[in-house]
Symmetry: C2
Subunit: 360 residues, 2 copies
């Protein structure tokens, strides 16, 4: 079996966790549960079965400081920075160049930095199964999370026939990738039993991935080759800057997964959550009190239930309100109805409009 | 006409304005509207027609520092301190001793420190009318606010016959004082047209008041005489301490107004609000935006209406919530449904139980 490598995708920004997340400290760097930030928890999860020197991170330069602070266990040369965000396919492509240079036969596991899972043993077993398929079938393998609700916030993957190569976890050929559905569609998907959530976790041999890029995104491939030539030389930064700035922004889903015919899905039955909003954090939290309230910090609830309060530096009293989210961060306070957590982006837009950059 | 004096009752404590109000800074010292605290606004209101040297304040020693800070326009000797809170009758009695010593024939206007009114001219005219009745009829006169809603949070006063002594404002003999009614009773009171709100504003000659104390609260009268003897002497503090600690706690309403037969009511048609809760502050505030939101500080409302946010040192974003109150004070945040503002006392009780004195 080839050596395994992990690539953690940490370039994300976003406004869903405002005011805890800021431009300079997006979600993956936040400690939402336990003692580790989400990216640290992700490193720990893979660190159980992949050596630290084989764990890579792709991020952007704006996050260099916080990334280095939070990833001291990894070699600094494993932190790869995009000059500018170009979605997942160029980012994975860039990182793949470094790994290919070290070990062209290596098996690469790609994962978002900002999701949470439970059951590390089953997680590892699932990844190992995917690696086996990636190796033996020269496949591009994705982990499909077995859905438990008709969620409309995720992309879905429809499976085709089951495949068997002696792996421990159920695996399938893939019929198609579909975008986030409406509720009706999502319900259909769930009841069919043939759809899984797209968790953004992929496993492939680096060589197989690069071949797929060559085939399905030839322009990007040419650009990547030009960058590859400069790795380890003084001109790397400059060449990267020039070339990367003009590559197309495209996701691996759209650029490769939906086009390739050697795509497989390994069923993920571990608990998984993309923590897409404060609402998801509330739902995921296991430490609810008898009124289904979640609190961190000093909080008083009076006549309140089903609410989430996170206030590390304040006392918060909630009186007579159900289903709310309260988040204090520095001198900023969010008070939000749980089912309107998606609207937080409008707060950020309004702050931008008012030029209140200190709160962004 | 006798000289007029004003006595502002500033001894109140209370939890309704937590977290803005604290033990060391109760409601009367808060700046809720405009640039003046409630007690400063009260002094200004009377200062329009009563000279500063005739304005007295009765408070307690725990508030000495903030009281002196906020009342620099008054002579320090006009600030009178109860050693311990004993409700309104002993407090007025104590202050009356000082005024009687200076001007036994003086007319005294007693007012809470923590209410707001609008229309200063009408307010003054109403007080002048009350003073005329107090003088000519040796009456104990109260201002009855013409009610505009069947409020259940105030005591009511039922009038008897109208009286006419050439005063400008309608005035009546008083039939009875009644406690805070339930809603049904309050509606009856309103529709009868014979009930007014008890605003805690009283006008009388000092001599008439002290005679009423002698008649209806003879034990208190005896105690007051003992204190009076020591005013201006070295033993004042010590004697006050001993005697005041053992006088009965009793309100002027219960101790005098409900018993005396020389009680009159002058109709108050100026806008009056006792600002009894954050809910009252929201209602009273005239600066509502198009969604009926009130804000002070940097606030973003998204899908929210009919809400009140006061956050002098924070940015607050409210998303998808109607009818809420958010108050930030230092490192303390209250988030409260408007119709449950009365429950704030339970927060204070809980903080007391948890021994979190820094938030009280």
């Amino acid at each position: 079996m080839s050596n395994k490598y992990c690539l953690i995708m940490a370039g994300g920004s976003g406004t869903r966790f405002w005011p805890r997340s800021r431009k300079a400290k997006p979600k993956q760097f936040l400690t939402i549960f336990g003692n580790e930030s989400l990216i640290q928890a992700t490193i720990s999860r893979f660190g159980n079965f992949i050596p630290d020197e084989s764990i890579y991170i792709v991020s952007n330069k704006g996050q260099k400081e916080v990334l280095e602070q939070q990833t001291t266990r990894l070699p600094k040369e494993n932190l790869i920075y995009e000059p500018v965000g170009k979605n997942t396919l160029p980012a994975i492509g860039l990182a793949a160049l470094f790994i290919a240079k070290k070990d062209p036969d290596g098996l690469l596991v790609v994962s978002p930095a900002d999701h949470l899972t439970q059951n590390d043993a089953l997680f590892q077993e699932t990844i190992e199964s995917a690696a086996k398929i990636a190796q033996e079938k020269n496949g591009i393998v994705t982990i499909g999370i077995t859905p438990n609700t008709p969620a409309t916030g995720y992309g879905y993957i429809e499976i085709a026939d089951e495949i068997q190569i002696g792996q421990t976890i159920k695996s399938y050929a893939v019929n198609r990738f579909v975008e986030k559905p409406n509720l009706e569609k999502a319900k259909e998907y769930i009841s069919s039993g043939r759809f899984f959530w797209n968790a953004g976790i992929f496993v492939f041999k680096v060589s197989v991935f690069l071949e797929a890029v060559q085939k399905h995104a030839p322009k990007l491939y040419t650009d990547l080759l030009k960058i590859a030539e400069t790795i380890g030389t003084e001109s790397y930064e400059q060449v990267l800057d020039i070339i990367y700035n003009q590559v197309d922004s495209i996701s691996i889903d759209y650029g490769i997964m939906e086009k390739a015919d050697n795509v497989f899905l390994v069923q993920g039955d571990f608990v998984w959550n993309d923590l897409g909003s404060w609402e998801e954090v509330y739902k995921y939290d296991q430490q609810k009190d008898e009124n289904q309230n979640v609190k961190s910090g000093e909080v008083v609830f009076i006549n309140s239930k089903n609410s989430y309060v996170s206030a590390p530096n304040s006392l918060v009293a909630v009186v007579g309100l159900d289903d709310i989210i309260v988040v204090q961060e520095g001198d900023t306070i969010l008070v939000c109805k749980r089912d309107q957590a998606e609207e937080i982006k409008h707060v950020v837009a309004e702050l931008t409009k008012r030029n209140l950059n200190q709160y962004l």
